[in-house]
């Protein structure tokens, strides 16, 4: 746990996609969009991993001020020992997937409301 990341970054390739997500107007900040992307990746069943080449964007204190997100990720990925590294990986994977979805005429509306209908 001691080697877990203190900062979270986004790869250059995903930075534009993240920016586009915000420009589309639904998210108030890149962090909100990145968290959404992380959740999308979890929901899709993305396996744990480690992203290479991420450029620092936020401190973990900004991303998860009360540590609850870490606990959440530990619940979903019990074997993982570095939840923030995992969060970084999931955010980047999620951004990539969302960019692909939107590029193929997909819609955030369906992603959000169709998948969440059961709630």
């Amino acid at each position: 746990m001691a080697s877990d990341k203190k900062t979270i970054g986004i790869t250059k390739a995903n930075a534009t996609a993240l920016s586009n997500l915000v420009i589309a107007g639904r998210f108030g900040s890149e962090l909100d969009a990145a968290k959404f992307a992380m959740a999308y990746a979890v929901k899709k069943g993305t396996p744990p991993g480690n992203i290479e080449g991420a450029e620092t964007k936020w401190n973990v204190g900004s991303v998860d001020p009360d540590g609850s997100m870490r606990s959440l990720l530990e619940s979903f990925y019990p074997t993982g020992e570095e939840p923030y590294r995992l969060a970084e990986h999931l955010m980047n994977e999620g951004i990539k997937s969302l960019a692909e979805l939107l590029g193929a005429n997909g819609d955030l509306y369906d992603t959000l409301f169709t998948s969440a209908q059961t709630r």
């Binding site: 108030g28 959740a39 929901k43 609850s68 959440l72 998948s115 969440a116 059961t118």
Partner: protein, 653 residues
């Protein structure tokens, strides 16, 4: 009385080349048939052009003369046109020729300024001088009353304005009616007498100033007269300006009417601009709300993983809790050896005691601490999962999202509509449109100010008159050197002025009664409604239909309006000192067959010469022949040769 004998037109509107309509010298009706766009209105305008040098479009606005010449001839490089009217009046024969041709040196005229309009009038084959010609035309058919002789049936609707004394159109028609009925002869005489009376008052005041006894009153009167002179000048100026402003208002109204559609488009575009701004503000506000709500939207996506993880962690928590509880119970039994089992309250057998010992020795303190940490970690995770369950409300998110989308769709629809209108307005001079509207509004304000000024000046004049009368009365009790003669002059002119003043009132009253009686006579012959008993006239010569029970018919149709207007026309012809032919363009367009039949039958009684410009559906030739019989003096038709060429030919079928 004016009677038209022939109309010769050359290259006027669709009438290419030289063409002639000959009219019978006998009293009766001539019908000229022509379908739409063949040139009926042009023919009416040709008569108007001959008399007044003007051509009027639909409405009352003059049309540019440049557009009147025959297009085919213009395409061939021949510009200009000419109208010659042969007519008789008071046993004299006249030939009035008016032409419009390009000015010298202008090869391809483009504007009215490129043309020269001139005319000459022959009376009994002698060409009259310009001033004499102008005076003759004004005497034979003054332009101000031409509306009762040359008119467009569609404009008969305007006569409804006579029922309301407040409209400019009503006021103008009312004035024209008084003019045709000869009232201005009396009112002008009354005005002249008033001026003479005032002059005589002034002379008397001057005479009074020359005598010691009457000087004081003479001075006061002279001051009041000087004041009155200024007030009269002011009043004249105000009335003149008011007339100009009213006429300006009428032409602006006309201009606005013509550009009504464009003005409406402009208004709509401005409204859409305003609405788009409002929608954009609403959308932006909703978008901010949505963005705030979207901060927690990621939790919504995790609903299923959270549920699954919670279930699994609850199970682990339960297993660990059970394991730790068991260990606690065993430890308690070991410490209190010999006591009963806390669960079944039985004595613990030696065999069981041995197993407890073994089990306690197998579980180390380290294991126990590890298990406690594990349980704490599970509970921390469960707390986090609980925290994120329901952290985001998708129903609220959806409402906000839909609101943003709805605003965006609304905005796009409005923008589409706005762009479409903007395209239509591309070539429109918006500035000029707005200026017309602004000018109209300022003219209304100016009229209001002038009207108040007129009322105020009249009040001051009344006050001046009353003051002068008071002094005059006191002066009358005194005598002076030359006062007697001036006084007699003043009294004579005052009596004459009073006489004419009363005569104007009495004449107007008589005229109204005569017009009402004649209009009623025509109306009874024209109307197809047996319960209508006649027409009632108001002070402005407006006519109201009266039911046989004596009540007024408050609302009438466009057709009824035409019938009533025609009755007024007929009554005016009967009572006017000046009479002439009636040339009507499309008079039956709004009338049913019954009314058309009645009007055709009555027309020969309304005027000695009537020229009807009609299309066949409006007045079938058989109907005209059947009803007019021997009063039908001629039938002509407008024969199409091309879209820009019509020939006037006698109808022979």
């Amino acid at each position: 009385m004016l009677q038209i004998r022939a109309l010769h037109i050359q290259d006027f509107g669709p009438f290419k080349g030289c063409q002639t309509v000959n009219l019978s010298p006998e009293d009766g009706v001539t019908v000229i048939y022509g379908e739409n766009m063949r040139g009926k209105t042009s023919l009416l305008n040709a008569v108007r052009f001959a008399f007044f040098g003007k051509v009027i479009g639909r409405g009352t606005k003059a049309m540019p003369l440049h557009k009147i010449g025959n297009w085919e001839q213009a395409a061939a490089g021949k510009y200009g046109f000419q109208v010659q009217l042969e007519f008789t009046d008071d046993c004299h024969e006249y030939k009035l020729t008016r032409s419009c041709h390009p000015r010298e040196g202008v090869i391809s005229p483009r504007h009215d300024e490129d043309y020269l309009v001139d005319y000459f009038l022959e009376k009994d084959s002698n060409v009259l001088g310009p001033q004499q010609a102008e005076a003759e035309i004004k005497r034979i058919l003054p332009e101000q009353i031409s509306r009762f002789f040359l008119f467009d049936g569609e404009l008969l609707q305007e006569y409804e304005d006579l029922l309301s004394s407040e409209t400019d159109m009503g006021r103008r028609i009312s004035e024209a009616i008084e003019r045709i009925l000869g009232v201005p002869v009396l009112t002008s005489a009354r005005t002249s007498l008033l001026r003479l009376k005032e002059k005589s008052e002034h002379r008397e005041a001057t005479a009074a100033q020359g005598d010691q006894k009457t000087r004081e009153f003479g001075n006061q009167l002279a001051d009041l007269h000087a004041q009155r002179h200024v007030l009269n000048e002011d009043l004249e100026r105000l009335e003149r300006e008011l007339e100009e402003a009213r006429s300006q208002k009428a032409s602006l109204e006309e201009a606005m009417k013509k550009k009504e559609r464009l003005a409406a488009l402009l208004d709509k575009r401005d409204t859409l601009d305003r609405l788009m701004k409002e929608i954009e503000i609403r959308r932006a506000a909703k978008q901010i709300e949505l963005q705030q709500a979207m901060a927690g939207a990621w939790c919504s996506l995790l609903a299923d993983p959270i549920r699954n993880a919670t279930k699994s962690l609850r199970e682990s928590e339960l297993a660990l809790q059970t394991e730790l509880l068991r260990a606690d119970v065993l430890s308690s039994l070991h410490v209190n050896s010999g006591s009963e089992c806390p669960a079944c309250l039985q004595q613990v057998s030696p065999d069981a005691k041995q197993r407890i010992e073994l089990s306690i020795h197998a579980a180390s303190d380290k294991d126990r601490a590890e298990k406690d940490r594990e349980l704490a970690a599970i509970r921390r995770k469960l707390t986090a999962l609980d925290q994120y369950t329901g952290a985001s409300r998708t129903d609220v998110l959806r409402i906000l999202w839909d609101a943003v989308e709805e605003a965006a769709v609304d905005f796009a629809a409005k923008k589409g509509e706005r762009d479409e209108i903007a395209k239509q307005l591309e070539s429109v001079d918006e500035e000029s449109l707005r200026k017309t509207k602004t000018d109209f509004e300022s003219t209304i304000r100016l009229i209001d100010v002038l009207e108040k000024g007129v009322v105020r000046t009249r009040d001051l004049l009344e006050q001046n008159k009353s003051d002068a009368e008071n002094i005059q009365r006191r002066l009358d009790k005194l005598s002076g050197a030359n006062l007697g003669a001036e006084r007699r002059r003043r009294e004579l002119l005052s009596d004459l002025h009073r006489l004419f003043n009363e005569a104007v009132g009495a004449y107007r009253e008589q005229l109204r009664k005569r017009v009402e009686a004649d209009a009623t006579r025509h109306f009874k012959a024209l109307t197809t409604e047996p319960e209508y008993a006649g027409l009632r006239i108001n002070d402005s010569y407006g006519l109201t239909i009266v039911h046989q029970d004596g009540s007024d018919i408050p609302v009438r149709s466009a057709g009824a309006e035409h019938v009533v207007a025609l009755c007024l026309m007929g009554a005016l012809q009967n009572n006017a000192p000046l009479r002439g032919p009636i040339v009507i363009d499309s008079p039956f367009g709004r009338l049913d067959r019954g009314h058309t039949r009645n009007i055709i039958r009555t027309l020969p009684n309304m005027a000695k010469q009537v020229i009807l410009l009609v299309y066949e559906d409006e007045l079938p030739p058989d109907l005209a022949r059947e009803e007019l019989k021997s009063k039908l003096r001629g039938e002509w038709k407008l024969d199409r040769r091309s879209a820009r060429h019509t020939e006037l030919v006698p109808r022979k079928d």
